[in-house]
């Protein structure tokens, strides 16, 4: 196993009229080849911004610091042409709502032809459609859908088409940002099972960005828990769920309502604003194990325990 993606001290700051918003702060994370890493957190924690930063898909008011290395290459230093080539070919991304990602005025076939020609202008239409049929069969979409418009497809079919578009160039890493949040529970499970089997077929890694702890538990090998722009805890999925160490992870897991819930729990307070500079641990105001030091000194993530878990908390 080798590191496919390495984030080191990655920070993303948005300039806004109200001041700088520190959406991602000092994040270091490694994704090994052939694995699914879950990036989990609540709305506004910076998980989507992190995903976009990897592909350099951030708006102009964003400043990125730190480094993103993909297969040994420094992504942040690539020229616009090089990054365009990397996207789609080696690194692909799917989003929550496929309806807003597909062009409503273009037939499905034209999405495929356009995508293929963007990377390889010489490809003839017939060849492109053959490729399209092949990947569509892999995601179990009948090839007659090629002649249809996005609105003629069901929600599940649209997301399958999005995945197929990503698979055209057999990317090494797929960033899936809430890929099933717009779908119902049965469809969600179908799509994730599909992603899992395709991942093996295409020997692809997946960064699964989601708010859903259940999905992460079922589908990821490793998990990173984000809070207020930072990674609170990161490690292999089974031990992390068995014995969460960061008080936020503990609270989050306790607050999940599942079929075995007999009493309710919620983490007190609300997530902090990411506007302006902050000192100390961002979870300090809501933490039930807080100490004096937590208010002023940010706990640098450190390795804890035998499972090489990284935890950003003064308790360890």
């Amino acid at each position: 196993m080798s590191a496919l993606l390495e984030l080191e001290h990655l920070s993303v700051t948005f300039e806004t009229p109200q001041g700088p918003v520190h959406a991602v702060q000092d994040v270091s994370l490694t994704i090994e080849g052939g694995s699914i890493v879950g990036l989990v957190g609540e709305s506004g924690c910076g998980k989507s911004t992190l995903g976009r930063a990897i592909l350099r898909l951030l708006p102009e008011n964003a400043t990125v610091a730190g480094s993103v290395r993909f297969a040994g290459r420094d992504v942040l230093a690539l020229s616009p042409k090089e990054i365009r080539d990397l996207r789609g070919r080696n690194l692909a991304m799917i989003f929550q709502d496929p309806m807003t990602r597909l062009n409503p005025l273009m037939r499905i076939r034209d999405h495929f032809i356009e995508t293929i020609r963007a990377h390889n202008p010489a490809v003839r239409q017939g060849q492109a459609l053959e490729r399209a049929k092949k990947v569509l069969a892999d995601v179990r979409v009948p090839s007659d859908r090629l002649g249809m418009y996005p609105h003629e497809l069901s929600g599940g079919m649209r997301q399958r088409v999005m995945i197929a578009l990503c698979l055209l160039f057999k990317p090494a890493l797929l960033i899936a940002d809430e890929p099933t949040t717009a779908l119902d529970v049965i469809l969600e499970a179908q799509i994730l099972q599909l992603l899992q089997s395709i991942m093996h077929e295409y020997s692809m890694s997946v960064l699964l960005i989601t708010h859903n702890l259940g999905l992460v538990a079922e589908f990821s090998d490793r998990v990173a828990v984000m809070y207020a722009g930072r990674i609170a805890e990161e490690g292999a999925t089974p031990p992390l769920f068995r014995e969460p160490r960061h008080p936020y992870t503990q609270g989050l897991l306790r607050s999940v309502i599942d079929l075995e819930t007999t009493s309710l729990y919620s983490v007190p307070g609300e997530p902090p604003s990411l506007l302006g500079e902050t000192a100390g641990c961002p979870f300090y105001p809501r933490c039930d194990k807080r100490m004096a030091v937590c208010e002023t000194v940010y706990p640098e993530p450190r390795l804890v325990g035998e499972d090489h878990r990284k935890v950003a908390c003064h308790l360890y």
Binding site: V141, E188, G214, A217, L252, S255, I257, T261, S266, E270
Partner: protein, 422 residues
Amino acid sequence: MTEPLLEVRDLKVYFPVFSGFVQRLLGGGDARVHAVDGVTFSIAEGEVFGLVGESGCGKSTIAKTLVGLVRATSGQLLFRGEDVTRPDPKTLFRLRERIQLIYQDAHAALSPAMTVGEAIADVLRTHGLPGPSGNRVQTKSEDAIREAVYRTFDDVGLRPPAFYYNKYPDELSGGQKQRVVAARVLALRPQLIVADEPVAMLDMSVRARMLEFLMELKAKYHLTYLFITHDLATAKFMCDRIGIMYLGRIVEMGRASTIYADPKHPYTKALLEAIPIPDPERKTKKILPRGEVPNAVWPPAGCRFHPRCPAVLASCGWEGRDVIALLEERWLSPELAEREALAGPVKEWEADGLIARRQMGKTDPGPVYDLIRRILLESGGPMAGAVRKVSIEGTVVVVEFRPPDLLVPKEAEGRVVECLLY
């Protein structure tokens, strides 16, 4: 037995589909979305009844019908025994004092141009103040109205009320906005609250707080809830009784504890199985239903779940279009598609009720007839058992099904199930 607070009898709500002029001339005129298609349930006073199902199953349409935002196509709604199916404006006005709705998005439910205090004062000016014996007292006294708003704010924990009165929704946090919405609902002292996905938009770490708040209100004001959700786990925690909905019908209904302990309908089982469990040690390969929820304009014959059901029988409602779906699924494999190209492509097949047919023109229908018989036997499963006959009529190959068995809701082990297995 006491009279139920709310009774819904065989409720149907259909929405017209706007089709083009030519399409209507060609006979597409009766296309209607069967949003709710024969739903019966009742809610006793003080109960929490849950309607659970996936998007498009009709649960929110029922909510809207109850408060008169959508008209019932047929069926009956009784509130405390009074027929409120097609209320005149005056009855509707009074009905809304007794049935109130809480929506998913508290932010969208509040006017951004009105202070939250005014939002509630406005309701009280329109409907009057709640009187001592459930009556309503109209008042012109702004002081009395302001007093009443303060009391309601205090009731929902927005303290001190005077501090919140002049706030705009924009200035409040998500949790506070939900309390304002709750205050506006409670200001009328309703008897039934319809909560439509009240926690779906909330982050997990604060979701429990809203649910606890709803339960507190229930205890304090002796409320009855119709709790609408897609989340089976939340429903299990909140509801006394639940109805599982699929494509406009309730497929299983009974005490929540009974259904969760031992689900009977294959759809209920599928829903429960699909829920991701936040415990990596219990990872299992799930058996999921095939495909997606079909279009509610043309719901499947017989049991609506039959095309996807893992426990389907020959008598469940097989029809012509299921043959086309089978061929489509089968020919996803390029090898099979090539080997059976003779019977394809899929678009040459046409479905008409219980019949699927393919026009062969000048080609000999014999080989296609043989091939389709073989395909049905090989991979049709229970569908093959429902075939009345495969035949050649002139130049057309025809597959015809027997009509499905009659499907009615039945009592089975302490709940009502609509499934031929029971």
